[in-house]
């Protein structure tokens, strides 16, 4: 007698297969760009297709990408952390202090990671407990964290890290495969699974799409955000370990401006800066694109600052072009 019992009409799970959806995605477009740049680089420089050169090139993005993975989740959830480069500075400084006090490599790594987590917790508490906008909070902590580093170091530097500490930033696991690259690859898998396969990942999307709706659906929105700030801090701490190990020294100006490159990488990877959508594979490809551009132009002796024009154009272009295209099509119709 009731409608719901008499006519159960069947609704298919999906209209398009996941494969079809994937082919039409941002990631495929980006992958095409990456392949294009790769080919151009190969044509432009005979030194490009060299295993060791390519291996060196990965250092252009591995540390940034570590942070970018966590940042991607944070941005999808509708927040942002502009203090990541400053967290690196503070974590690296903390490691320097620990080193001066005679700490060995395991302790140094712990200090780096713990400092990163603490900074993330500080950001997260300001955003979730006090309800402050993350963009301003992290502009503030960006100055604060690096400022603390300057207070400790002034214009000095920490040098003389233990020899085995160099393994993280300078070591190789196998042939040309660097330790950093392995960490990057592992994290890509971990974050990919976390975002795309777990219920936590699902709540991240829900929070970013509609925080009110997520709250009404029983999601502890503040807790999700706090976890993401902690993760971003932790990844910044890890990047600090790698970078400090690679450079072999700590200055307060370490990694300055890196926050913008990280955000660029995330946005280039197709993550909506307003939250709600994005993917880890996209960020991985974006990391390669940025690394390849930097490396290829470097081989052609184009200075870094000019490369940044390409990154800037890429950032605006990849968002602007599809919009221009659809505007143009609308006009034609």
């Amino acid at each position: 007698m009731s409608m719901s019992q008499t006519t159960p009409r069947h609704i298919p799970d999906r209209l398009r297969s996941p494969m079809q959806a994937r082919l039409m995605s941002w990631e495929s477009l980006l992958l095409a760009v990456a392949v294009g740049i790769f080919i151009l680089n190969t044509l432009a420089s005979p030194y490009f297709l060299d295993a060791w050169n390519l291996s060196d090139a990965t250092f252009n993005f591995t540390e940034k990408a570590m942070i970018a993975f966590a940042m991607a989740l944070l941005i999808i959830a509708g927040e942002i952390d502009l203090s990541v480069a400053s967290i690196i500075a503070l974590a690296s400084t903390a490691m320097g202090v620990a080193m001066e006090m005679g700490a060995g490599t395991p302790v140094l790594v712990l200090v780096g990671l713990a400092t990163g987590m603490l900074c993330g917790a500080f950001n997260g508490a300001l955003v979730t407990k006090l309800g402050l906008p993350s963009i301003v909070v992290t502009i503030g902590t960006m100055s604060l964290f690096r400022g603390l580093s300057y207070i400790i170091l002034g214009d000095g530097a920490f040098r003389g890290y233990p020899a085995d500490f160099a393994w993280f930033g300078q070591g190789y696991v196998f042939w040309v495969i660097s330790v950093e690259f392995v960490i990057f690859a592992l994290l890509a898998v971990v974050f990919g699974l976390l975002l795309h396969k777990t219920s936590f990942g699902r709540t991240v999307y829900a929070v970013g799409n509609n925080p009110t709706g997520a709250l009404f659906s029983g999601i502890r929105v503040d807790r999700v955000k706090m976890i993401l700030f902690l993760l971003t801090g932790l990844m910044s701490g890890l990047a600090a370990v790698c970078l400090t190990s690679r450079l072999g020294s700590t200055r307060p100006s370490i990694a300055s401006g890196m926050e913008l490159e990280v955000v660029t990488m995330v946005v280039l990877g197709g993550v909506n800066i307003l939250g709600g959508s994005g993917s880890i594979p996209g960020v991985v490809i974006a990391a390669f694109v940025m690394g390849l551009v930097t490396f290829g132009l470097g081989l052609l002796n184009v200075p870094g600052i000019v490369m940044s024009i390409f990154i800037g154009l890429l950032l605006i272009g990849v968002i602007a072009l599809p919009r221009l295209w659809s505007m143009w099509r609308k006009k034609r119709v």
Binding site: G140, L144, G147, Y150, I305, M327
Partner: protein, 325 residues
């Protein structure tokens, strides 16, 4: 009681207290000539912060101001090298037009393509800096290459204060009038305060944001000439990272990042606060390396304060509660 007024009073009090504290140990800090020097030193920050304020009021942000400053300043310096006899007035007009044009690029991308402002200005920030390098090949333009009149102008003294300081005052006065007494000024507040309602009252939100970016760009261009001329040097990285000081000045000055709330006077005080801290540190023998951390802490305290005063009151349904308010 209007909270905003009290907020400016608090900020003014904080600055006065800071100055007084320094003065107890170093009376030299409060002699008029030094105060004028502090004000002049803070002028570029004040001009840029007023431009940034306009943008933030419309719920946007402009991270490209320092790069715009550097690019416009560099082009002014190059023009000066090529045409040393070009009157300074013409050069200033050029700087403002060029800065406005760069700002308009940001504005157009935000207005016509609805790209989030933070993405747009992050991109143009790196592009502008890169363009400087393309123009100069990374070379510096030094004092001896610039004409005397070019470098002398901002430093020329007028009634005891350098022209640079007067320009900041002029910009402040003009912008106070624009914000309070023009349709555009009111539209800027309306767009940030309640974009929905702004549409109902016939205001074009995107166009207003475009104009805000153009104003910000124009002031950045003006500062570009003043900066290069004052320090008598132009290079790629000039004023690097300064955009964050500018945003900091706004936040400390009570400009709500959510848009629609804040005043020119608040912004000026926010910039002055940072300026006083920067100038006072060496005087009281605290390492200037403390400055960054202090401004960071100031931003956080200021934004927490903003949020406290702006907390939305819940709906009032009970009649008794309404009267108790």
């Amino acid at each position: 009681m209007t909270l905003l007024k009290s907020r400016e009073a608090i900020l003014f009090g904080a600055i006065a207290l800071l100055v007084a504290l320094v003065a107890t140990r170093f009376p030299g800090f409060v002699v008029p000539s030094n105060l004028i020097a502090v004000f002049t030193d803070t002028s570029p920050l004040m001009i840029l912060a007023i431009g940034q304020m306009v943008v933030i009021l419309t719920r946007c942000i402009d991270l490209s101001v320092a790069a715009n400053l550097a690019l416009t300043g560099m082009v002014c310096a190059m023009i000066n090298v090529a045409m040393p006899d070009l009157p300074i007035f013409v050069l200033i007009c050029f700087a403002m037009v060029m800065g406005a044009a760069l700002g308009a690029i940001n504005g157009l991308l935000v207005w016509k393509l609805s790209i989030p402002p933070i993405v747009v200005t992050l991109g143009t920030m790196t592009i502008f800096r890169g363009v400087i390098f393309l123009l100069t090949d990374g070379k510096w333009i030094n004092a001896h290459e610039m004409s005397a009149s070019f470098t002398a102008f901002p430093r020329a003294s007028l009634l005891g204060m350098p022209v640079l300081g007067w320009i900041a005052i002029l910009v402040a006065i003009v912008m106070i009038v624009v914000m309070a007494r023009t349709t555009l000024g009111r539209a800027i507040y309306a767009v940030g305060g309640n974009p929905h309602a702004a549409v109902y009252t016939g205001i074009n939100v995107g166009r207003t944001q475009f104009l805000a970016f153009t104003i910000s760009g124009m002031l950045a261009g003006l500062t570009g000439y003043l900066w290069i001329a004052r320090y008598s040097v132009a290079y790629v990285d000039i004023a690097g990272g300064f955009e964050l000081d500018v945003v900091a000045a706004c936040v400390i000055g009570g400009i709500s990042i959510a848009g629609g709330a804040g005043t020119v006077v608040g912004t000026l005080l926010g910039a002055l606060f940072l300026g006083v801290v920067k100038n006072a540190l060496p005087v009281v023998d605290i390492s200037p390396f403390w400055q960054l951390a202090i401004s960071g802490a100031a931003i956080i305290i200021a934004v927490a304060f903003n949020a406290q005063s702006g907390r939305s009151k819940g709906r009032i349904i009970l009649k008794s509660a309404e009267h108790a308010q």
